[in-house]
Amino acid sequence: MKDLEQLAALDPAGGHEPTPAEWARANALVDRIVEGGATAHAAPARRPATRRWAVGLVAAGAAAVVGAVTVPSLLPGSMDRALASWTPVPGSLTGEQVMPQARRCAESGVGSDPAAPVSPSDVLLAEQRGAATLLIQQRGAGVIECMSVDGGRPAALALADGPLPPPAAGTVNVETRSSVGDGDDQYSNVVGLVGPSVTGVDLVLADGRTVQTSTRGGWWAAWWPGPEGGEIGSITVLVHHTAGTSTHRIEDL
């Protein structure tokens, strides 16, 4: 086994013990998970097992006392409610309408400027799918994505620390995409930038489902039930612009 023992010299994490701050964030997450689980037990009306739902992407802000930590997943109770109420067509919300959520997202501490003030104009995009509200929100010079369910504890993810150049006219890009979870609890999320003259973006999934994304404030975003966000060849992107519609594999964006 000498060859394997020698390999230990290449270990990028060998000897690393979690720092006190890492332990504090990890323990704070455990507290939140347990708290969310109790909520789920109190709401036994779950979706039928044969149906496949999903929840939006995400990342949760940590308790302010332990600093920022991102958790790319909704807590269990919130996830169930979001899955059970998801809609393929989003409702659009104004910054004024989502100020309570925007304030809670800001309080999560996620983003490069967690102390930045919050105003309706900071909400670049806000959509509603069932019980879940998804925001793309300016935080100082940076931008975060944030999801909350029924006004509960939000989950936030930093998208940018500063200004991003917009894509060319009539095109979009993908800043992040992912899938989270297992089995029927799996869900996907995509976020990107839109260029000038783009009027809308739709996703066609491998199983034929169409997801209408939200486009506003220079961004497009969507979340949906299923694993496609983490797969290759499972998402076709239809970009609607003033000159027509172009079709792309998401891997090409």
Binding site: L7, A9, L10
Partner: protein, 181 residues
């Protein structure tokens, strides 16, 4: 579910977390950029809470398997559809280990490691970095123990073969010098 069941469930989850968090964090840090590791680990423990009844007594391999799937599913700019792979100590990072590998040997190891396929690196890392037994590593990869042992054996053969050119290099250099003299 009774409050007593809830209490037992919570105690078990906290116990699993306390016992496995450092190892799981290191497992993930070996495979994604450090800034992403805590996100992945958090997602794994969320999954563990939801599926606590499925978590076996030896929780570590089960959690590592969930972490692998989570990392594979998480397409961020750092991954962009590249195969999940094990990182190495960067040249400007401190090297850990017991100091038995000198600088020259480490360079050879590094070169040999990089020449391997990601699949070979993964089976080697599960044993050499993550410290798993063959049975535990098989759980992580979702294969039979015998299959893992075979894959490990082949990966070690390819590692040794990749190290051979470096091992014979001094001899080749001596021959070259003789020819030049």
């Amino acid at each position: 579910m009774s409050s007593g069941d809830d209490g037992a469930r919570e105690r078990r989850f906290r116990g699993v977390h306390a016992a496995t968090y450092p190892d799981l964090l290191r497992f993930v840090q070996r495979r994604v950029p450090p800034s992403e590791a805590e996100d992945i680990v958090s997602t794994v423990f969320l999954t563990a809470w939801r599926r606590l009844d499925d978590v076996p007594e030896d929780a570590r391999p089960w959690l590592f398997a969930v972490a692998r799937r989570t990392m594979a599913n998480q397409t961020r700019s750092w991954l962009r559809r590249q195969a999940l792979d094990v990182r190495l100590v960067a040249q400007d990072e401190p090297a850990y280990g017991d100091g038995t590998v000198d600088a020259a040997a480490r360079i050879d190891l590094d070169r040999a490691w990089r020449s391997l396929r990601p699949d070979d690196r993964e089976v080697l890392a599960l044993v050499a970095f993550d410290g798993l037994t063959a049975g535990q590593a098989a759980t992580v990869l979702g294969c039979r123990r015998s299959t893992f042992v075979m894959r490990l054996s082949r990966a070690r053969e390819r590692l040794r073969a990749a190290l051979e050119p470096a091992a014979v290099r001094p001899h080749a250099l001596a021959v070259l010098k003789e020819q030049q003299s």
